[in-house]
Amino acid sequence: MNSSFPSSLRVHPSTCLRWIAGLAVAFSASLLHGQAIDYGALEQLFREPVTTSVNGSPQRVSDVPATMEIITADEIRRSGAKDIAGVLRHVGGVDTLEWGNDNIDVSVRGYDQAVPARLLVLVDGRQVYQDDFGYTPWSSVPVELGMIRQIEVIKGPNTALFGFNAAGGVINIITYNPLYDNVDSLSTAGGTQALAAGSAVATHRFGNRAAMRFSAGGDSNNDFSTPIPVSEDTTSRLHQYRDAADIDTVIRLRGSMLLDFEATHSDAKLNEMSPSYQLSNALHGNDSVQAKFSAEGRMGLLQANAYTNWSRDAVNLGSIGAVLHLNDRLTVVQLQDIFKLGAHHILRAATEYRYTTEDTTSTTGGNVHDNVVAVSGMWNWTITPNLSLTNALRVDHLALGRSGSVPPGYPFTNADWNRSFTPPSFNSGLVWKVNDANSIRVTASRGIELPSLVDNGARLLNLIGYSTSGTPYLNPTVVTNYEIALDHAFSGQHLLFRGSAFHQHSADVRAITGGLIVGPAGPYSLPSNIGSSDANGLELGFRGKFLDNYRWSVDYRPERIEDHFVPSAQNGADFTDYQHTTPVHLLKANLGWANKACEFDGYLHYQSRSAGIQVAGLAGGLAPLNGFASVDARFACKAPSRLTWAVSGQNLTQASQHQTVGPAVERRVLGTISFHF
């Protein structure tokens, strides 16, 4: 694994500092006073979470023109999960494919697959989704569970706010702000699969002017020991580990202008299911630096954000005999202003620049990159006190490019990458609060999923008898979503129903194979656009409380997907299938109990019979997967008050269970001791 970065590719933190300081000076004349969002104070006031993840402006979750779930810090703790993907396993409408102890792929509203590309994942607005393969390796997200205020899950496209790849949904992880939140905790865990883990989060305020948060954690474990299906068995499982650290400093400038600097680091080694459904050994390393500036004034709520992510991935492709070294860099600069116009209009204007670059691998010498310039706007109109309309529009101009050498006999030249796209995306939503108990939402949205850098040409394998490459001639996948939703509160605040019906159309679905080009040196296998897909589904959820100490929830999602793929891509032949691999019935349920000292939660996950993709010769194929139910649980007590002892388990009812067509998932039990000071 190459852990060094060419100095020419680095954006030095001092450069970011100067940029942000200049911006602050430029706007200071018009900034009278300001406040970044104090999520805790807003949640305490409104008794419900507040989010900015739907249209950029702060909104109560019951007001947002989208279907979303917010997982609070309390729910994260009570999930008993050891990582973020484990927390998401319990969320209604969220699909998970658990390939190994540290390898869970996550999507929303179906469309899950190995290395899923449709779900954009961010931490406080910073992308942790990796553009190389186009997915999120959850193990390398540099966030400790104890530093998360809430996880926001937006179902459906939201490219109009977040840009490319928010096509099927968005997960925005909101962490505690050290300026407003005091969070100090230490935790250690041990359990089956030789799990040993530790985590620390600390915040400190320097008067009213500055605050700092530091977090670090790591774990080490063995992967499952269940047999690997022959078709996926290309390499032996390695011992897995993860380490991560984050430091965040918030400085209150003149008045209440805020400047925020954050740096993160993470490394992870795990056994990972590859896009071609073969088990690989993967190393993921990530570093990032970020500077944010926010202020209020006559101009509204102004926010500037700049960050650079460096990721270093090494993926052992096993039987192919190659190791892909993926070193990509993403630099993003964003500027947005949110302001009110009169009493009934909120507007947001934003612009963004992104630059992504990656060297070709395993054949080196080339570089694939893209430049994106985007402008976006949002208009929220409160038509009457009970009726509001939100429209958001974004236009991204993407210019693709390639530089460096090409191997002899390569069927493309660098000029083939001189292409550009200017796809528009939108989100529109009408929210009608019929009365205190009922709310109806009607929404339409269009999202864009870009081909990954690997599919765009960073992958360049020249092996004897087998050559494969990315191609610049892939079209982005366009996802359009229409839905109608109803929230209904029964008898006070003790029973809430949330339901939605959605239709989703995905055009130009992408697969990792299916294309072929013959050059002077022979044929190259290429990724391709294989057709379209339609999904129709319902999301029905009830949650309530009883007898003061008990809470419960049931979420049921029936969904049918119809793929309309070219004949050669039918039934997963190009390693892409959604119609058969998305379960028609997905049910999640939770029963929890708590008193002042102890708490217990049980979770049920059921999904109906479906299929999974397995390698069949050189192509993919479908293998049946029986329906299954699994149970997770956690029991915890405080003794004394600052010390929490917890025992939790996943898949408790069986020693091992087939939840994918990959290796069976094992029962896991872990004990955790947490100290809050």
Binding site: D38, A41, L42, Q44, P58, F339, I346
Partner: protein, 187 residues
């Protein structure tokens, strides 16, 4: 005998029920009880009041209409409840009960005027006091929205509803954070 008593009391019960239903209770001159939830939410809105002086305790005047029979008692209850709450940055909150008749003569410092039910019938006196004292008026009485004398209407029912009267906030010199103004309703 019992039947006779029932015959006698039933019309009154029906009338009382109908009265309650339509808000014209026979004892219309008595106010109900105070809502701790509403008071708590009202105090929490002060976290977003940027014009609030930065130091010292937060001063709240609980305004009651003296023509309402039990209003002085309700004011005393509200003063007691508010006194147990904490303001922005954990600051102490000091409350005092003030009759609407005494408001125009009140010479002390007030950051907030909390209007009990019935007080908003005296909107002129309240608006004058808001301007003079540069204090923010908050109430859970929906009538104050109609009479335009509360900067914030804060009600905590099935969900917390907050309505901000922007013109009155300007008159009181009250400045709320932009984030807050984007989340609440504005008139």
């Amino acid at each position: 005998m019992v039947l006779k008593e029932l015959d006698f009391s039933l019309p009154k019960l029906v009338l009382a029920f109908l009265g309650l239903l339509f808000g014209v209770v026979p004892y219309a001159h008595a106010a109900g009880s105070i809502s701790i939830d509403n008071l708590q939410a009202a105090v929490q809105t002060l976290n977003f009041l940027e014009s609030l002086p930065k130091g010292g305790p937060v001063s709240v005047g609980v305004i009651y209409a003296s023509e309402i029979a039990n209003s002085q008692q309700l004011a005393a209850e509200a003063v007691k409840a508010i006194g147990t709450m904490r303001g922005p940055n954990n600051r102490e909150v000091q409350a005092v009960g003030i009759s609407i008749d005494d408001l125009s003569r009140y010479a002390g410092h007030l950051d907030v005027i909390y209007l009990l039910i019935g007080a908003s019938n005296h909107s002129d006196a309240i608006v004058t006091a808001i301007r003079r004292l540069r204090a923010v008026s908050i109430s859970d009485d929906p009538a104050c929205e109609t009479t335009k004398c509360c900067v914030l209407l804060v009600r905590s029912g099935q969900r917390v509803e907050i309505t901000l009267n922007s013109a009155l906030a300007d008159a009181a010199g009250a400045r709320f954070s932009m984030v807050f103004m984007m989340v609440v309703k504005r008139t």
